[in-house]
């Protein structure tokens, strides 16, 4: 989302109850603490991933999620993988190489965290390429399966398990049908977290299928599918806008959080799997604090009926390991 979009909502807005009355407030949940997720970049190595996992283990919040974002889905010489941020340019990594790095991170977490801790390690790409396809989703899921098999074989899976993830954004190159195909191709074996934004979607309302329009031809139904409607999909939305709005129950939030709330409510009314359960929130560097970001999302998903209740996870994505 751009600067002007943020400026438009910098003033506090009272969101009217276009979507029905306020929900019953659940007992307040304590902030769960946040993990650090990572945009993978530059001179990576298994050693660096191990060290980063170890660092996360030392500051473990007990039960958390970490997303490792490897950039653009890509295919090179018939091999599936991703192009990650390499000194302002790009470098290709096969799914085999990515699995090795992710395993290093998981091993580091295991070695350095308290025995009571647990980490869901989500291996991510975005939808900013022409290789966002069902085939890539399937290959990504197979990679996640291979990582989990390794974690089990090495005895780490009691405290670390792997999932897929996609930074699905209407503003990126691949349009909604391609991203839906990626998620469908990912299948039903493992979880795939959608840590994208809902660019251009309504933050005050929803409509019958396919829902209200978002940017670039996306509809609310597309966001719902990626974050819940697909068996593997689970929402972990980005909430980093600094503008605020006031919810019907008087609680503070912002438009990014409420865009996802409208998607969640769209699911409650029209979705094949009912109201989406938002797994957590992702903040970014140089923006809202993770706790504020989480609080906004928590407030939004508990401001309208049916309320969600707890929001399990909070993470902040940073540039580098």
């Amino acid at each position: 989302m751009g600067r002007w979009g943020r400026a438009l909502v910098a003033a506090a807005l009272a969101v009217t109850s276009m979507v029905g009355g306020p929900g019953n407030a659940a007992a307040a949940q304590a902030y769960p603490g946040y993990t650090l997720s990572h945009y993978v970049q530059n001179s990576i190595s298994a050693s660096a991933f191990y060290s980063s996992g170890c660092s996360q283990g030392r500051i473990s919040v007990g039960n958390g999620i970490v997303v490792l974002d490897f950039g653009q889905p890509w295919v090179s010489n018939g091999t599936y993988g991703a192009r990650y941020w390499y000194y302002g340019g790009v470098a290709f990594l096969s799914t085999t190489a990515i699995a090795t790095y992710v395993q290093g991170f998981g091993q580091g977490f295991y070695d350095c965290s308290p025995a009571t801790s647990y980490l869901r390690l989500a291996v991510g790409v975005n939808n900013d390429s022409g290789y966002v396809t069902s085939g890539h989703g399937s290959a990504w899921s197979a990679m996640v399966g291979a990582i989990n098999a390794w974690l089990v074989a090495r005895g780490y899976s009691g405290r670390v398990t792997a999932a897929g993830a996609i930074d699905a954004e209407p503003g990126f190159a691949a349009r909604a049908p391609a991203v839906r195909a990626w998620m469908t191709g990912f299948g039903t074996s493992w979880l795939a977290y959608d840590f994208g934004s809902a660019d251009g979607c309504s933050w005050t309302s929803y409509a019958p299928p396919p829902g209200l329009a978002c940017n670039n031809g996306w509809r609310q139904d597309d966001l719902y599918y990626l974050a819940w409607g697909a068996p593997a999909g689970w929402g972990l939305p980005e909430v980093y806008a600094t503008g605020t709005l006031t919810l019907p129950n008087g609680a503070p939030s912002n438009w990014m959080a409420n865009q996802w709330e409208m998607v969640r409510l769209y699911g409650a009314r029209y979705g094949s799997l009912g109201a989406a359960v938002i797994a957590g929130q992702m903040a970014q560097t140089d923006s809202l604090s993770p706790q504020t970001s989480w609080t906004y999302l928590y407030n939004s998903v508990n401001a309208y009926s049916p309320v969600q209740g707890n929001v399990r996870w909070s993470t902040k994505i940073v540039w580098g390991l």
């Binding site: 751009g2 007992a27 302002g88 580091g108 070695d111 350095c112 899976s157 979880l191 309320v307 540039w319």
Partner: protein
């Protein structure tokens, strides 16, 4: 509209599957640990039990609970923080040969990937690998105001440049339009705007020079 009957059937099926699976695990003597694992993935809602998950989703969570149970049953010994089995990081940069310390390189327009999380349109980028410093500079424009040229700069003091770093967004003076890095000398860059204007940028002082 939601087909409530179908949802109800699916939920019931999921609950049956979950219970059957847990009964099996209880028989192995690790049920309590599995239950703890399931609790990790099925939060209470404000003190109330959440509604059952759709069967498709519960089946996936059950698979994760199974992984956790296997890990709990056969945990690896903890090696400890000092036991990085992968040794020191490889020489810089790991993925591409021919980099000379302190000599910058320009990424062409087709090989540039913009910095994540920054709402911009990026033309190309330049980087230098230290010592003394490792830096990346992207040139482009504000995504929503393409008349506003921007640079995004990331600087590290470690040569690996894998550690955490901030992305600093700098607004070019004037209305240059989208910027392109045309040339570099040392830590100084020559920028050309979409309007044809030329600007200098000094990485050391992080300032534009007209």
């Amino acid at each position: 509209m939601v087909d409530q009957d179908r949802v109800g059937t699916l939920m019931a099926a999921g609950e049956r599957l979950r219970r059957r699976w847990l009964r099996r695990l209880l028989g192995t003597g690790i049920g309590a640990l599995v239950l703890a694992g399931v609790a990790l993935t099925a939060p209470t809602v404000g003190g109330q039990a959440p509604p059952p998950l759709p069967a498709e989703k519960q089946a996936i969570l059950d698979r994760y609970a199974g992984l956790q149970a296997q890990g709990v049953a056969r945990p690896a010994p903890v090696a400890g923080a000092a036991a990085n089995p992968y040794g020191d990081p490889p020489p810089v940069p790991a993925a591409r040969p021919g980099i000379v310390a302190g000599v910058g390189r320009l990424n062409g327009e087709t090989e540039t990937m913009g910095p994540p999380g920054i709402a911009g349109r990026f033309t190309n980028s330049w980087y230098v690998v230290g010592p003394p410093l490792t830096a990346i500079v992207w040139a482009g424009a504000d995504r929503d105001d393409t008349g506003q040229g921007i640079l995004v700069v990331s600087v590290w003091t470690d040569a690996q440049a894998t550690s955490l770093a901030s992305l600093k967004v700098l607004l070019a003076p004037g209305r240059t339009g989208q910027l392109r890095i045309a040339a570099a000398s040392g830590y100084g860059l020559v920028l050309v705007g979409r309007d044809g204007s030329r600007l200098g940028f000094d990485l050391g002082s992080m300032t534009f020079q007209k």
